[in-house]
């Protein structure tokens, strides 16, 4: 039976669009429910009820929620996240540089952790049951089961306090040379990659071991095929779907760790902006940040799904 990929992939995209719509509503609902509003923040102590009311009217905060949602969703469709209630500057201007910083951090982490986890995962598969494999799995398990802030704290302790290898706070304005880049990014990236790599290589190992139970792997062994070739030539093509999924899932769970890492290292990224904006009730900024996070997640998982569908080995379902 020949499966046509087009409709399958379109179906995945439609499903993701539906999820995204749900996410948009949820984010709006929660942000609309935030108690207190920016009017209080802006007026501070000197707030009189009248002043607050007129300010709210000026910011259209007194409109009913559904009407605000309608305007907001419409603006979002035009890629216009509105203006910050706090500073009056366009949200895009506020979020833009922070997004760039976050992408830099995420990119650096992915660049370190993906190859590392692939290598680790494959190495563990090849050395199944040996001391190396056991030690690695216990280490990975240990790393995934401690909170990110712990890794971050330990990183600070080791790199900054004990060895003075890197500054405790990430001042990314000080980056003018590759060496400085490494110094600034060393700790945040090390922390994030530590957590991500552990999770990713664990999942990759699990996928590969699953494939390794197939009879055709035993057949390859009995043909005298060397282990490296078995892993790369026989097993990997059959594991692309699950492995890509594992990578996407781990990378997207990295988004959660970002909040902690940005806080610990005072890194000026999106998560930090969002945390500050939540405190200040600057709703448009919060909404924009949250939406970007969700879209990144959905994009990653959808991409992984599409890759998995497209690379599914023929005749798997015989």
């Amino acid at each position: 039976m020949t499966r046509s990929l087009g409709p399958l992939i379109l179906g995945r995209l439609a499903a993701s669009a539906f999820s995204l719509a749900f996410v948009v509503v949820t984010i709006f609902a929660i942000t609309a429910a935030l108690p207190g509003d920016v009017a209080d923040t802006l007026l501070g102590q000197s707030a009189t009820p009248e002043a607050a009311a007129s300010l709210r009217h000026a910011m259209a905060l007194d409109q009913p929620a559904w009407l605000r949602f309608w305007h907001w969703a419409g603006d979002m469709l035009h890629a216009d996240p509105g203006r910050s209630l706090l500073t009056g500057r366009p949200v895009a201007e506020l979020v833009g540089p922070r997004l760039y910083n976050s992408l830099l951090l995420a990119g650096a982490t992915a660049a370190v952790s993906v190859p590392l986890s692939l290598a680790l995962g494959l190495a563990c598969t090849m050395a199944r049951g040996t001391v190396f494999d056991r030690a690695a799995t216990v280490l990975m398990l240990g790393t995934v089961s401690v909170p990110v802030f712990l890794i971050a704290t330990v990183a600070v302790f080791v790199f900054a306090v004990q060895f003075h290898l890197a500054p405790a706070l990430a001042d990314i304005n000080a980056v003018h040379s590759p060496l400085q880049f490494v110094r600034v990014f060393l700790m945040p990236v090390a922390t994030l990659s530590g957590a991500t790599t552990a999770q990713m290589s664990r999942m990759i190992r699990a996928c590969m071991i699953d494939v390794f139970s197939a009879p055709w792997i035993e057949m390859a062994v009995l043909k005298g095929v060397p282990p490296v070739r078995i892993v790369l030539f026989h097993a990997l093509p059959n594991a692309i779907g699950p492995v890509v999924n594992a990578i996407a899932l781990s990378l997207s769970s990295l988004l959660g760790g970002v909040v902690v890492v940005e806080t610990v290292f005072s890194y000026p990224g999106m998560a930090g902006l969002m945390v500050d904006s939540v405190a200040a009730r600057d709703v448009p900024v919060v909404q924009c940040c949250a939406l970007i996070f969700c879209m990144v997640y959905l994009a990653l998982t959808t991409l992984a799904d599409v890759v998995a569908v497209a690379s599914a080995p023929r005749g798997r379902d015989r």
Binding site: A15, S16, F18, S19, L20, A21, F22, V23, T26, I27, I30, T31, A33, L34, P35, R128, G129, R134, T137, V138, L141, G142, V144, S145, V146, P147, V148, F149, L150, T153, V156, F157, V161, I209, S252, L255, G256, V258, V259, V260, T263, A271, M274, V275, V278, A279, V286, C289, A290, F293, C294, Y297, L298, T301
Partner: protein
């Protein structure tokens, strides 16, 4: 109603052999959790000091006869605070895990037993929920609902529901296709019987593993939240906030920061290791 009662009483008869039939992973994890429960319930009763009581001038004191685990950044007895911290961490995480898993399992089974559309819509909603990074979601909800322990439990419950839903749905789907379920349907058994007696008993083992895993996630999330100042609020303590408030002691290697860290790791790593015991 009486039918359900009958199922349950029959279930009780099987329950005697239940523990013995469990896979070693969930069994060990259950045992370990039981130990933690005992500490959570009995611990604070044995604590020598009230958690907020300042007992010593000396901050970040080391291990001594008076203060077994030293003192914290205000000179409070760490041992006592730790016992309280364990209680809150274990309780909050248990309740939120139970909440998320109950909802997840019920929805997961409902999705397999009802129409395709229910399943599709539920699946999309869960995917959507899953796509909001858990820490940020918690941040938003807690900001909206206020910082209280019920709000924490509810939030964490919602955050981990989609995962539990996915696991139980996948399990139920697999078992629903099993021949013994077909045989029961061919006999003409009702839907409730099939779900409660044919499908559920075969899901317990894997589901217990999943619940254990989710408990670990909950502990991690709660600690991260407390570390960010969003979790358990003073004067209450949990393990995460213990580490947060004493983090300055790291430079001196004070037990005030090292011990809660170790206890936290012991809790999560221990359960994970217990669950993961089936080496290939």
């Amino acid at each position: 109603m009486s039918a359900v009662g009958a199922f349950l009483s029959r279930g009780g008869r099987h329950g005697a052999m239940f523990a013995a039939r469990l896979a070693p992973g969930p069994r060990r994890a259950l045992g370990l959790l039981a130990v933690w429960f005992v500490i959570a319930f009995a611990g604070p009763l044995l604590a020598p000091h009230a958690p907020g009581e300042i007992v010593d001038r000396d901050v970040f004191a080391g291990v001594s006869l008076h203060h077994w685990l030293g003192t914290d950044y205000l000179g409070r007895d760490l041992g006592s605070r730790l016992l309280w911290g364990v209680r809150y961490t274990v309780l909050i995480c248990t309740l939120s895990t139970l909440l998320s898993c109950c909802c997840g399992i019920v929805l997961g089974i409902a999705a397999t037993a009802t129409s395709v559309w229910v399943e599709r819509v539920l699946g999309r909603l869960m995917d959507g929920l899953l796509s909001i990074p858990s820490l940020l979601f918690a941040l938003l909800v807690i900001a909206a609902a206020g910082e209280s322990i019920p709000a924490l439990i509810l939030t964490m419950g919602v955050i981990y529901m989609p995962g539990s839903y996915r696991t139980s749905r996948a399990l139920a789907l697999r078992i629903a296709r099993a021949d013994y379920v077909t045989a029961a349907l061919a006999r003409g058994e009702g839907r409730a019987f099939v779900i409660l007696r044919e499908i559920l008993p075969n899901m317990t083992g894997p589901l217990l593993s999943d619940i254990g895993l989710r408990f670990v996630y909950a502990v991690l999330l709660l600690s991260n939240l407390s570390f960010l100042g969003l979790g358990v609020q003073p004067p209450l303590v949990d393990l995460g906030s213990l580490v947060r408030e004493n983090v300055l002691g790291l430079a001196y290697g004070a037990p005030a920061v090292v011990v809660p860290t170790l206890v936290l790791a012991l809790l999560t790593v221990g359960i994970n290791l217990a669950l993961d015991g089936r080496r290939p």
